[in-house]
């Protein structure tokens, strides 16, 4: 749990950047209300012996197809809400399981909360591994599981109203 921390201000990111230049990289599971920078997430999971990271980058979509009616709705913006301490724990479980099941080195997961404009990044999952294949497999597994187990909910806001998206689990 000491490796888990919430980063609530972008100023922390800058301090982190300075610190991490001289720190060993590590795993992390974070929630943030600030914009997520893909590069800084991917950077923090890289070890000197790893040649590659695979990064999944989820975005706030403009168009969503209704699963029942097939109708396409145009979203104005999204709101993400989490059961924060449990979400961090569940993300950390995914990291632990991915590291025991795949031959990977480090994993970083950062999920954004609050209001997201269209095109903004909602989640970044970055996996570093000595072998590319394991990084791809682990990253794909983590995003699939995250959408089933991590207690975060998405609300789509349209011109005519709003709706919480219900997951499939």
């Amino acid at each position: 749990m000491d490796r888990i921390f919430l980063c609530k201000a972008s100023s922390i990111l800058f301090v982190l950047f300075i610190l991490l230049k001289n720190m060993p990289t590590t795993d992390f599971a974070e929630l943030t209300n600030d914009p997520i920078d893909l590069t800084s997430v991917a950077r923090r999971v890289v070890l000197p012996e790893c040649g590659a990271t695979v990064t999944l980058d989820g975005y706030a979509r403009k168009y969503t197809k209704d699963k029942t009616t097939g109708e396409v709705r145009e979203t104005d913006f999204l709101v993400y809400e989490a059961y924060e301490p449990m979400a961090i724990k569940e993300m950390q479980k995914l990291i632990d399981r991915a590291k025991s099941d795949f031959g990977i080195a480090n994993v970083g997961i950062v999920h954004r909360l609050g209001r997201l404009e269209i095109g903004e990044t909602s989640v970044v999952i970055s996996v570093a591994a000595p072998h590319r294949k394991a990084a791809f497999a682990a990253c794909e597994w983590i995003i699939k599981e995250l959408k089933k187990t991590v207690p975060i909910w998405k609300k789509e806001v349209y011109a005519e109203g709003e709706a919480w998206v219900e997951g499939e689990a």
């Binding site: 989820g58 809400e81 059961y83 999920h111 207690p151 909910w153 219900e166 997951g167």
Partner: protein, 79 residues
């Protein structure tokens, strides 16, 4: 004993609340606590709910202890 129920997302919106403190008998299950909560918030009845006890997914037959935190929510949709 006192337990705390937390509501999130669609559930929080439907009950127009984020938290409920209940006094329940020792040995109460999560299911029974939610039944009690439904008296306060009838909107809970119309939703398919998942629960967590003390930040871990739990079955509805989990027996609660004093000070436990029960979270109530619909299927997650992050990512």
């Amino acid at each position: 004993m006192e337990i705390q129920i937390l509501f999130f997302g669609a559930v929080a919106d439907s009950v127009k609340s984020r938290q409920l403190i209940l006094n329940v008998a020792s040995g109460t299950t999560a299911a029974a606590a939610i039944e009690t909560a439904k008296k306060e918030h009838p909107a809970l009845a119309s939703q398919k709910l998942l629960i967590a006890v003390n930040e871990e997914y739990a079955d509805t037959d989990t027996i609660l202890g004093d000070g436990d935190e029960v979270a109530v929510f619909t299927a997650v949709s992050g990512g």
